[in-house]
């Protein structure tokens, strides 16, 4: 029975529209600000409607730098962020798949001790271990390059646990059938476990990509060479320009560009893991 209560409908719709407005408004302002020129942006009130400089600003920001980050173009920063996020997401998934595989399917001494050690690392986010990690990375000479940006962030207890859960639900008979068919452990892993975890991998990829993309503290510490700046930390240094006022239109354009890749990843992967969640595996 469908309730017919027009008043409740109106109220709930109003609340929802208000919510969308609150969320979307800042993004709208950003978009608008990105489409005006420098002059307009120094005048108050802030513009509420887009101007005509969108493409021009886009081209400028993409190829040239802004503010304190002048030596590096936004395009370059986007590239750095992309490489870092992809390495982190890919690395985390690969490592967690393998560690979950080892924990679930093999019996070795101190297995449970290792399991609990992995669990305990959940208590150690980057911020807690920042100084020792920095020292190790510096000593290894990994400052200012892609490896230093990604490898210290690459182990993941949550992903390991998630894959452990997935592997535990795979019936033993599958393993036995594969054994009889002649699949050794790594063949079983590659031919059967990984394809069966496809939807989990897709979902995790989205989450981990965004995690990697949004990294602020670690890239800030690790990179001194401006050509290694990532976009998220780079935007902050755009605001610091010694003698001049911040170039808001370009900063806003950069912010817009920084938001784009995670959105693309979510939208792109969405179909894959919704399909995976709704089809029943037997």
């Amino acid at each position: 029975m469908i309730e017919k209560r027009p008043l409740a409908n109106i109220i709930s719709h109003t609340v929802l529209i208000l919510g969308i407005f609150i969320v979307a408004f800042p993004i709208w302002i950003t978009f608008v600000a990105a489409s005006h020129d420098a002059v307009r942006m120094t005048q108050i009130p802030l513009p509420l409607l887009p101007g005509g400089h969108f493409w021009e600003n886009l081209r400028y920001a993409f190829s040239r730098g802004v503010g304190n980050a002048r030596e590096i173009s936004v395009g370059m920063m986007l590239f750095n962020s992309l490489v870092m996020a992809l390495m982190i997401a890919g690395g985390k998934i690969a490592i967690s798949l393998l560690s979950a595989f080892a924990i679930v399917y093999f019996r070795f001494p101190f297995r449970m001790a290792f399991f609990w050690m992995i669990f305990i690392t959940l208590m150690l986010p980057v911020e807690v271990r920042i100084i020792p990690t920095y020292k190790v990375v510096a000593d290894l000479g990994m400052l200012d390059n892609y490896w230093g940006l990604s490898i210290p962030l690459i182990a993941s207890a949550t992903a390991t646990f998630m894959f452990r859960q997935v592997f535990l639900t795979i019936p033993d008979e599958m393993l036995e059938a594969a054994r009889i068919d002649g699949a050794g452990p790594m063949r079983f892993f590659w031919d059967i476990l990984v394809p069966m975890s496809r939807t989990n991998i897709a979902a995790l990829f989205v989450i981990l990509f965004i995690y990697g993309w949004n990294q602020y503290l670690w890239p800030l510490l690790i990179t001194t060479d401006k050509s290694m700046y990532t976009i998220v930390m780079g935007i902050k240094s755009m605001l610091e320009a010694a003698e001049e006022a911040p170039e808001w239109h370009l900063i806003m354009m950069s912010a817009l560009l920084a938001m784009l890749p995670p959105v693309i990843v979510v939208v792109g992967m969405q179909k894959l893991f919704i399909r995976g969640l709704t089809e029943t595996e037997k």
Binding site: A177, R179, I180, G182, T280, K282
Partner: protein, 357 residues
């Protein structure tokens, strides 16, 4: 040649022994059914033949070669699981081809074998589908197809029909038997369903609590059970058991219940007497070797009638009986009828050990 030789095989998990000294020689091409209630060790035995479980003591030989330490893939066996264990992300064709691919067979050979097996099992139309797009019976056939293409020396079936509905089960029973007979491959088949066992096996191994109680052809187990367990397990409805005492050529179960004593039985001994429902008959006149049965329920099946009743004041132990009479019943519920059985149809067991006397 693909005989399977199980010699004095025992299995323990730590201190817990689950299979005790089982031995059986399976001839080439024979269809052997391992049957027993849940937890009796039948799947464990099968898995030891497959190589999925370690053999604690004893030897298993396939085709004359001892396989105790050989990996499953090298034992020349193929197994069909209860839950089919198909790879869900692969097509039917790839499910069947996977093992052959790993063996390194050339592509055209794989193609030929898979198509031939698909033809035999009538699943050739489904080769491109994924398992989730198939029904239970079709998946079962794919699982069998996967076993057939390996061209093994022995087929191993682990309760393959348990997940199917009753009608499909009956149909698949016949098909499996026909297929095995046509291919001529030795088969070991595990089930808890004694009807499946009786209809499919050349010989049966009845397992109980890890012991092989009896090994023999279905009719042999039906007519000449060696233990009370086998007697009660084979045959449906199950055999009736009554505790009583022998004496004067009769077995007494109480005031109003007695049966003729089979020849050669020890006198003045407590025994458990077993009579199958179909071996009871209405007694002609009031004999001393009658059981007076109080009728509780009558199930008219058409050609036969099942009568459930009880003996009033039998000595001790169970006094409920099920008897099967042919034709329509001529008495009503709550009446008392006199029934008896012929002496040679009465089986005597030791009440303590369950062994046949």
């Amino acid at each position: 040649m693909a005989e399977v030789s199980i010699r004095n095989v025992s299995k323990s998990y730590g201190d817990n022994e689950v299979l005790h000294d089982v031995s059986v020689e399976v001839a080439d091409g024979e269809f052997i059914v391992i049957v027993g209630p849940s937890g009796c060790g039948k799947s464990t035995l099968l898995r030891m033949v497959a190589g999925l479980e370690e053999i604690t003591t004893g030897e298993i030989a396939i085709g004359g070669r001892v396989v105790n330490d050989i990996e499953p893939k090298d034992r020349d066996i193929a197994m069909v699981f209860q839950n089919y264990a198909l790879y869900p992300h692969m097509s039917v064709f790839n499910n069947m081809a996977y093992g052959l691919k790993l063996k390194g067979l050339p592509r055209d050979e794989i193609e030929r074998r898979v198509r031939q097996a698909a033809e035999t099992l009538q699943i050739a139309d489904y080769l491109d589908r994924k398992p989730r797009q198939l029904s239970g019976g079709q998946r079962q056939r794919v699982a069998m197809g996967r076993a057939i293409v390996r061209d093994p020396a022995v087929f191993l079936f682990d309760e393959p029909l348990s997940n199917l509905d009753a009608k499909l089960r009956v149909q698949m029973r016949v098909e499996i038997r026909k297929l095995q007979h046509r291919l001529g491959v030795t088969a070991l088949y595990v089930t808890h369903d004694q009807v499946e066992a009786m209809t499919m096996g050349d010989r049966l191994i009845v397992l109980h609590d890890g012991y092989a109680e009896q090994i023999g052809a279905p009719m042999e187990l039906y007519e000449d059970p060696k233990t009370r367990f086998v007697a009660g397990f084979i045959g449906s409805p199950a055999m009736n058991f009554l505790d009583g005492e022998t004496g004067d050529g009769k077995i007494r179960f109480g005031k109003d219940a007695a049966l003729p004593c089979p020849p050669g039985a020890p006198a003045a001994t407590r025994v458990t007497a077993g009579v199958r429902p179909e071996h009871f008959c209405l007694s002609e006149s009031g004999e001393e070797t009658d059981i007076r049965l109080h009728v509780d329920v009558i199930e008219a099946l058409g050609a036969d009638t099942l009568v459930h009743g009880h003996i009033e004041d039998a000595e001790d132990g169970a006094n409920d009986l099920v008897i099967k009479l042919s034709g329509q019943p001529r008495f009503a519920i709550d009446s008392t009828i006199a029934i008896t059985a012929r002496a040679e149809r009465i089986y005597l067991f030791d009440p303590a050990t369950g062994k046949r006397l």
